[in-house]
Subunit: 530 residues, 2 copies
């Protein structure tokens, strides 16, 4: 069987060192589908790195309008190819074509590329700072080195290594990208790479600015991550995989942005449970099983007080979980990981209220609700925070609000933390107490809604304290902040104006927002202040 | 002999687990001076960590005005104590009392604390972003965990672990600080800690917000750095020490900001050498020997073209170096490190043009100029970039401008890179070519001045690509940017206005600059745009 080519150094070409091949699977049947994709070898990884290194300076010097034009052209090409892309992604992931793939995720991906283009045109990510008295001007600038991006299984478009937020961010900062597709959706990734490649050629960016590899051995991945010629790494996926990459990158000082695991605790306060336990159970179940629960922000833990209102919620939620058909997961690997996770939770004392078993055909698992009392959680906090990636959540039954706050303090770093409270104000004191405990442990503090929506907004934080990510100061979603991950701070000291980058010059025709002598201004350096 | 106490949990107290003691030395004589300071044990380190962890939430919740009041009160106390502080620092470091210690560094330290206070009052470091349509508001916030700061030997005030830029930044972000003094100036550090402690009590901050340890075994330092209860680490010092801390911190996801080593290449272009080789030689010599060359940004490499003008510079510089008296270094450890560095450079082919030997009494070393040709440098780039911390610089003789650019591309990450060019415009093309190659490899690109001045400015970047620091996106100097190192990104999603932090509320009485729906504004959320 023929094996698909790699995109290396501006051309589609066969792997130089083919170590094997793999095919995608239809997760709903477990059957192999589509073409065979290459497991490449060291020669290919080296070739991609060398080509990216060689093009880095040229890409950093490309006029920003051309970068923005590429991002827009690529976004347009994705939108125009919606039928083919959605068909491929549906076949490879079993995610629903509508609304999820066609109406939500694909527009999210193209919209994200356009937001990156806008950030490029407006220089909103470069944060220019000028100190006229000291003769200093600084801004964020390209790394001048390639960015390696490894995408996750759960968003074939919006977090794809060659189309998602990391990709848009790294290119917006004018860094070459080496994308490693997730092996569960290679044909979708290939199609996107073809569109990206065409857009590169159309807009005249250096052709090696975007390269695509599919699969290689873990040891090669670690060697690549530990190569100081890399400028940075973006990774979204499992904790084990991310930590292995981070360890390799850390030894050579390569900044590595890993989005790892998160259980996203949800606290349901006594008053809101009294007001609407049944509707909360419905809302919670929908959030847990959206995308078969395969979301970074899926509510993996829900904290519910003891007593009748809590019982009503747990009973209603259990019924939803028990009545639901098994959910299709992305792959056998996801299913195995989920089974191990559930086993860990049960071994640590969690009791199964509904679901708890896999099913066929393909890779299916029953929506599963587990429960454990707070005292047991506090005895085994590590094991009971194990992420069971899939349609699984763990109910923690707390004695009272004070124990809920104690639980909040026992959580590891998470992407999100959520509190629901009553309309009548009866939960307000409890809300404050728990929110205070939760705040330093989560990236996004959410009130009265489930965590599974992640808006692409400048004010979003899709990040959080370790181990949800590797650094609490960065977000993986939201322009322009996400771009800063792939940027270096550059200062110019006593450098003549003619030799400065456009956003640091006196004349500011694009009305870039700049911090000049302590004041944000959008006009020329010597123009009137507003 | 009595041993000085530690500042732990808000009180001066004897080490619980005394492992030994040490005294400072007068570097000009090598004689031990002053009191004995404790080498503490694990119990003390644990006690400091526990106290800092216990106070972190409370400090994060302190009104910002009180944080600013502490920083100002501490700055005032430092200014008022100038005679004592300068006398102590002079005795321990042999740095000149005037102008360096009394007129430059001490005012720099107190000024930096006041700039941090101003950043706190103006919220200029929190970068509030509001998306009204999405219901999202985000900003930078305290880590909610302690920051460990390890200061260097070379700035007893301005980078002191308990008074310098890292300290001011971590406190401004409302994180407790565990300061580890540099053992070469313990009495200076103790005096500063006393002033800080008094200012804490005066302004009502939690007393455990600032703690002081002097010395402990490396293994204890690594264990502390690898403790996930820490929020971040700030380190300035040697590459070996910094990398050991970084390795420990990386394994548990503790953000670690290390400022390591830098040779700060200076390029003298042909035209400027023809115009003023002699004055450049004087300027260069002064920069190399300022503070006995013990600056992070000391020009450790100077690139000079072949030919008569280059020869004139090298001859004149050599004479300055040869005529100068030996410089006093901070300690025997610095002297040993310098001797090893020079030996490495010589072993890699560098020839000694002037100096090259140590001298007594105390810890002295001759201002030393070495030289090597560019071809040899390109054969041994690692060894010939060894930092020889002290009054030592290496001349690289390049065949032509094109080889100068090749050298620029061969440099590791540096804090600074400098180019000097002619007034008559004859160097402009060469400047552009070399600056382009140097730009991605340095944090600060400098034109026509030596790198040894580091202004405390919002537009400063005292940072650079690895291995000059551990992350190219952060600066260790300059408010408010330096504060962001010790901050977490916090997002509020659908959270009622009454529960938001002050800088994210609708009403904006302090005229904080905020990015609201894509526009920087300083007024209320619902007020008129300006």
């Amino acid at each position: 069987m023929a094996v698909q080519p790699l995109l290396i150094d501006g051309a589609w070409r066969a792997a130089q060192e083919l170590r094997g091949s793999f095919r995608a699977e239809d997760p709903s049947s477990g059957e192999a589908i589509g073409a065979a994709f290459p497991i490449c070898g060291e020669a290919d990884v080296r070739a991609a790195l060398a080509a990216a290194v060689a093009v880095a300076d040229a890409l950093a010097a490309v006029p920003v309008e051309r970068i923005a034009a590429f991002l827009d052209a690529y976004a347009d090409a994705i939108d125009a190819d919606v039928d083919t892309l959605v068909a491929l992604a549906h076949a490879e992931t079993a995610l629903p074509k509508e609304p999820r793939l066609a109406k939500v995720e694909l527009p999210r991906a193209s919209g994200q590329l356009r937001q990156a283009a806008q950030a490029v045109r407006q220089y909103s990510w470069t944060h220019p700072v000028i100190d006229t008295a000291a003769g200093l001007r600084s801004h964020y600038a390209p790394l001048g080195k390639p960015v390696l991006i490894l995408g996750p299984n759960n968003f074939p478009f919006a977090f794809n290594a060659i189309a998602g937020s990391d990709f848009a961010s790294a290119i917006a900062a004018r860094n070459p990208v080496i994308a490693k597709a997730h092996p569960s959706h290679p044909a979708t990734s290939e199609r996107l790479a073809q569109l990206a490649h065409t857009a590169l050629l159309q807009t005249g960016l250096p052709p090696a600015s975007v390269q695509m590899l599919y699969q290689f051995e873990h040891s090669l991945g670690a060697a690549l991550a530990g190569n100081p010629q890399l400028g940075a790494i973006g990774f979204t996926g499992s904790r084990a995989g991310g930590l292995a990459l981070k360890a390799a990158a850390d030894t050579v000082g390569v900044p590595v942005y890993v989005e790892l695991s998160s259980v996203n605790p949800v606290f349901l306060l006594p008053g809101v449970l009294a007001e609407r336990a049944a509707s909360l159970a419905q809302e919670f179940f929908a959030s847990c099983t959206m995308g078969s629960g395969q979301f970074c922000t899926s509510p993996g833990i829900v904290v519910v007080p003891a007593g009748a209102a809590g019982d009503a919620f747990v009973d209603a939620a259990s019924k939803h979980f028990a009545a639901a058909a098994p959910n299709v997961l992305f792959s056998g690997a996801v299913l195995e990981h989920l089974q191990r996770g559930v086993a860990t939770l049960r071994a640590a004392g969690a009791e199964c209220l509904a679901g708890g078993a896999s099913a066929g055909p393909g890779y299916r698992y029953q929506p599963t609700l587990l429960s454990v009392d707070a005292a047991q959680f506090l005895r085994e906090p590590r094991a009971l925070q194990t992420e069971a990636f899939g349609p699984v959540s763990l109910v923690l039954r707390a004695a009272d609000v004070s124990q809920m706050a104690e639980l909040a303090r026992a959580f590891e770093g998470n992407l999100t933390g959520t509190l629901y409270r009553a309309q009548d104000g009866s939960d307000d004191d409890a809300w404050r107490q728990i929110a205070h405990a939760l705040r330093p442990r989560v990236g996004r503090l959410i009130n009265n809604k489930m965590p599974t929506g992640v808006a692409v907004s400048p004010a979003m934080n899709h990040g959080g304290p370790y181990p949800s990510t590797g650094h609490p100061g960065f977000t993986a979603v939201g322009m322009p902040a996400a771009i800063r991950r792939f940027a270096a701070l550059h200062c110019y000291d006593n450098v003549p104006e003619s030799q400065l980058p456009a956003d640091l010059r006196d004349h500011n025709p694009g009305a870039i927002a700049r911090l000049i002598d302590g004041v944000w201004r959008v006009n020329d350096l010597n123009g009137p202040t507003t």
